[in-house]
């Protein structure tokens, strides 16, 4: 039993819903009690979907448990089939139904329905949402293609040349409630098009079951979101010989590598140099970005986006990555190895308080995380950009804002750098606050941040008296010392405070005044 105040991922059947809702002509009968219908709002509210998820919940009640719940399941399957006429029917159960063991999937197969039935067994007490999505996509693809695969088609990656046509690829993995999938596929389509590569199909987003039957027609699978599509891609590789890409094209370097990998796997010569069609490299190089260099950044998210963010931060923006982690156990190994290269230890956890603690301890100047880190960062007064699911409604913007490809790199530059600039402007405004032109309330562009800052300075006080309790008896901040500390930009203030206290203890001072602050500064500069 695990105490959970908040969870990064929902249960696995929500992952199954993501696949079903992403597609057309698929229906999902879910053996579940009525409260589980809350999951519909994730799609209709966060994604602003105009359609209800294609899900029929059996909504059994306690009084049904004594009787024939299997009959109830069958009635719901029959009704859903008649009403929605799906071309593929997913049947599964949520946590509660798993315990009563009606085996809805097996029941469905005995009903003589003229539709492929995918029996989903998603262990609710050990697995989570992304795993559920991945497994569902895999079971669906496998269920639809299993008969084809027997023929054991020999795959020739260069057959497109022999047949005198353009190479064809599948884009696999984009789904609802993913991060910016809708826009990523537009961007990737556009880029591949520039290299004369055709899209065979995109799935699961907007695909139909009959589209999935065309999967083997492709020369290559592009695994855009490994969390969702890797299992499926490797099954296709084993059964149809179709290889798949391992590079996720987020960031300049990764997009280049991705294009190289695609060409290599297609045995396609790339006549022209890869043209970097993004402003990120120059923006990053321009003198205005001087102040970005060496910024301390903390990264937390799903595996794919966290890993991509680390590379961009380090190689493309010149940041220092001071922490990295993921909530995804499935991606833990990959994130650990990235962390190791950065000389860090990866944080693998589903506990947001642990993440918050890690953020605090590494005192970053920018947090890249999920919607939860946005809240944590706000509480800590640190700028933040969202790079990964779980998301809020405002993380599904109206404008075109991919993460992948060249345009994705532009979007990332803007969304990461803006919160930092805001922070810097806040600081400048703070510095000039006492000039007569400035009156309070001038900081209109980031109202909440400025208010936060005020709160923070109160916090500084509180901190001095309470939080560092172990030194409380030893160290006293004089009024003057406090005033000096308050002049330091809020995003480094905490770090300076800690260093100064550490220095004071080493130096045996009991009182900290402005001189102690300057002494400490010199002390740490020398090191």
């Amino acid at each position: 039993m695990e105490l959970t105040l908040w969870t990064y991922e929902g249960p696995p059947h929500v992952g199954a819903m993501r696949i079903a809702s992403s597609m057309e002509e698929v229906h999902y009968v879910l053996h579940a009690p009525q409260g589980d219908t809350y999951a519909d709002l994730l799609f209709t509210m966060i994604e602003r979907r105009k359609k209800r998820p294609p899900v029929t919940y059996t909504t059994f009640q306690a009084r049904d448990l004594g009787g024939d719940t299997a009959e109830l399941v069958k009635r719901n399957i029959r009704e859903a089939f008649d009403r929605f006429q799906p071309k593929a029917l997913l049947v599964g159960e949520s946590c509660t139904a798993e315990l009563i063991q009606d085996q809805p999937g097996s029941l469905a197969t005995t009903m003589g329905l003229d539709v492929p039935i995918i029996n989903l067994e998603l262990p609710a007490y050990s697995k989570k949402e992304n795993w559920g999505a991945s497994e569902t996509f895999y079971q669906l693809v496998r269920g639809l293609l299993i008969n084809q695969s027997k023929e054991n088609i020999q795959h020739d990656p260069s057959s497109w040349q022999k047949e005198g046509r353009k190479p064809r690829v599948n884009l696999l993995g984009p789904s609802l409630l993913g991060f910016r999938c809708r826009d990523d596929i537009i961007e990737i389509k556009k880029i591949l098009n520039e290299y004369e590569i055709e899209i065979n199909l995109i799935a699961p987003l907007d695909a139909t079951p009959s589209d999935l039957l065309k999967i083997p027609k492709a020369d290559l699978n592009i695994c855009l979101y490994p969390e969702i599509a890797e299992t499926t891609c490797s099954w296709i590789e084993r059964n149809f010989g179709i290889p798949f890409t391992k590079t996720v094209p987020i960031g300049i370097g990764a997009t280049k590598d991705f294009l190289d990998e695609v060409h290599h796997l297609l045995e396609k010569e790339n006549k022209n140099q890869i043209k970097i069609n993004s402003r990120l490299p120059w923006y990053s190089q321009s003198v205005d970005s001087n102040y970005l260099t060496g910024k301390r950044v903390f990264i937390f998210g799903d595996g794919t986006h966290a890993i991509a963010a680390a590379r961009i931060a380090k190689e493309e923006l010149g940041f220092e990555v001071v922490g990295i982690g993921t909530f995804s156990r499935e991606m833990a190994r990959k994130v650990r190895s990235v962390a190791k290269e950065l000389g860090l230890e990866a944080l693998i956890t589903n506990d947001y308080l642990e993440v918050e603690k890690a953020i605090k301890e590494s005192s970053p100047e920018l947090v890249l995380g999920t919607q939860m880190e946005r809240h944590s960062a706000k509480r800590l007064g640190i700028p933040c950009a969202v790079i990964s699911t779980p998301i809020h409604v405002q993380d599904v913007p109206a404008r075109y804002s991919p993460q992948m490809g060249w345009e994705g790199a532009n979007v990332i530059f803007d969304t990461w750098v803006h919160p930092l600039m805001m922070g810097l402007e806040e600081h400048l405004i703070g510095m000039f606050r006492h000039d007569f032109e400035f009156t309070d309330g001038h900081q209109s562009h980031l109202g909440h941040l400025s208010r936060n800052e005020e709160k923070n300075s109160e916090n500084t006080d509180n901190h001095l008296q309470t939080s560092s309790q172990e030194n409380q008896e030893l160290l006293i901040w004089t009024q003057e010392g406090k005033a000096e500390l308050a002049k330091i930009p809020y995003f480094v203030r905490e770090k300076v405070r800690k260093n100064t206290e550490k220095y004071a203890r080493q130096a045996g001072c009991r009182q900290i005044d402005s001189e102690t602050l300057y002494d400490a500064k010199v002390h740490y500069k020398d090191k």
Binding site: W6, Q34, G35, D36, R52, S94
Partner: protein
């Protein structure tokens, strides 16, 4: 009882479970913690219903069952005790701990009352532990509050003092206002349940007169009655009509003179009616369809029909307690179509057929209906907004008029042709 057309429907439902009540209960009692014993689904439900997570550490959480808990039951009870002890160590400000049962905990027959009992002995009164069910197989949405309050009744001290007890969570400001009005009527001893602090439980006895503020407190009312309290029969305090009858019922129970009652209420009623008028103009003659969710559907229909002139096409309700709803049903004519239970697909078919001007529904259904051109009002907003009492009647009307104004604004043909 009126002859309203009462129909029953079964089938797939689209209704929250009782766990959802935690979203407002934890705000009402800041010294209480709600610990759901359930699955990741339960945790996900509450955080999705609560929406934005602004607290560093919320006062609710889920002890998520894992495979090994399902294997051996004795262990699960011990595990739960361990989780609780850890939690309490970290959150010393907690005074009352609610162990909330869920579908999984009930299906595996985890005995939360036994765990609560053991913990109460171990904690020696420093924290009080109670339990109730918020499971989706037993309860819907607002019924969770009924369960939570019922669990507190045995802890209420005994008192033979004459008092008026308001039962059901209200917004604090609204509650203060209602108490002021009762004081003006000369009813000075007014208490609330749930209290604003879980440890300040009101006393109860045979001279307690209970006035329900919410229509979903069937079990709580029964328990209070069993402790000797008298339940005042009244409609619910929504709208001018309901709120004044509600106050009148209390006044009668306390033998307040009619003249005084009129003197106090009359000006409020006049003012509220004038305030409703512009909204009534918008709402009058418009068709409304209420999907089942909060149990507020019947009192709301009474308000929207009798005071705002709306035409109710269908009133869904998750379940119907005729006894508690009697005073409400009496105020409605016999041709109102009330449907208990739900078959969500068939019901949505009827919505599309009838083309109502406004549909009251859950958040899962709102955008899809809006996309079909049907204006909606989220039922969950009604449990969060201060809507009770005469003075709030116009605000209540405004909540329903707003989607219609919005609809006109965004579909203003004249604008595009101008």
């Amino acid at each position: 009882m009126s002859g309203a057309t009462l129909l029953k429907e079964t089938g797939p439902r689209e209704v929250f479970c009782g766990l959802t009540s935690i979203v407002w209960l934890h705000r009402r009692m800041p010294d209480a913690f709600f610990l759901v014993v359930g699955s990741r689904t339960c945790a996900h439900l509450i955080q999705s219903a609560a929406g934005v997570m602004i607290f560093a550490e919320p006062r609710f959480g889920t002890a998520i069952l894992e495979e090994r808990d399902l294997a051996g039951l004795a262990d699960a009870h011990d595990e739960l005790e361990r989780v609780v002890q850890n939690l309490l160590k970290r959150r010393p400000e907690i005074r009352t701990l609610f162990l909330v049962g869920s579908c999984p905990s009930e299906v595996i027959k985890l005995d939360l009352s036994r765990v609560a009992e053991k913990l109460n002995i171990a904690l020696q009164g420093s924290v009080r532990v109670v339990n109730y069910s918020g499971s989706g197989i037993e309860t819907t949405f607002t019924q969770g509050e009924d369960g939570a309050l019922k669990a507190l009744v045995p802890l209420m001290p005994e008192s033979q003092e004459e008092q008026l007890l308001l039962v059901g969570t209200l917004a604090n400001a609204v509650e203060d206002r209602l108490i002021t009005l009762f004081n003006r009527l000369g009813i000075n001893n007014v208490k609330s349940f749930p209290p604003r602090n879980s440890i300040d439980l009101p006393a109860i006895g045979s001279k307690t007169k209970v006035l329900l503020t919410q229509p979903y407190l069937t079990d709580t009312a029964r328990e209070l009655n069993a402790r000797g309290a008298e339940i005042i029969e009244a409609p619910f305090p929504l709208g001018v009509e309901g709120s004044s009858l509600w106050m009148e019922a209390a006044a009668n129970a306390f033998n307040v003179k009619d003249i005084l009652l009129d003197e106090i209420l009359e000006p409020l009623i006049l003012r509220a009616k004038a305030a409703i008028k512009p909204y009534r103009e918008k709402l009058s003659g418009k068709k409304i369809f209420l999907l089942p969710e909060s149990q507020l559907e019947i009192p709301l229909t009474r308000f929207l029909r009798n005071e705002c002139g709306m035409i109710p096409i269908e009133v869904g309700t998750p379940y119907l307690n005729k006894e508690i709803m009697k005073a409400e049903l009496d105020l409605l004519p016999s041709d109102i179509r009330i449907v208990e239970g739900q078959h969500v697909e068939n019901q949505l078919d009827r919505v599309r057929e009838q083309k109502p001007d406004l549909v009251v529904c859950g958040m899962g259904l709102a955008n899809p209906l809006e996309a079909e051109g049907i204006s909606t009002k989220w039922s969950i907003e009604l449990v969060f907004s201060p809507i009770h009492g005469i003075d709030q009647a116009a605000d209540l009307a405004e909540l329903f008029a707003r989607p219609l104004y919005r609809h006109d604004l965004l579909n203003n043909k004249q604008l595009s042709y101008a």
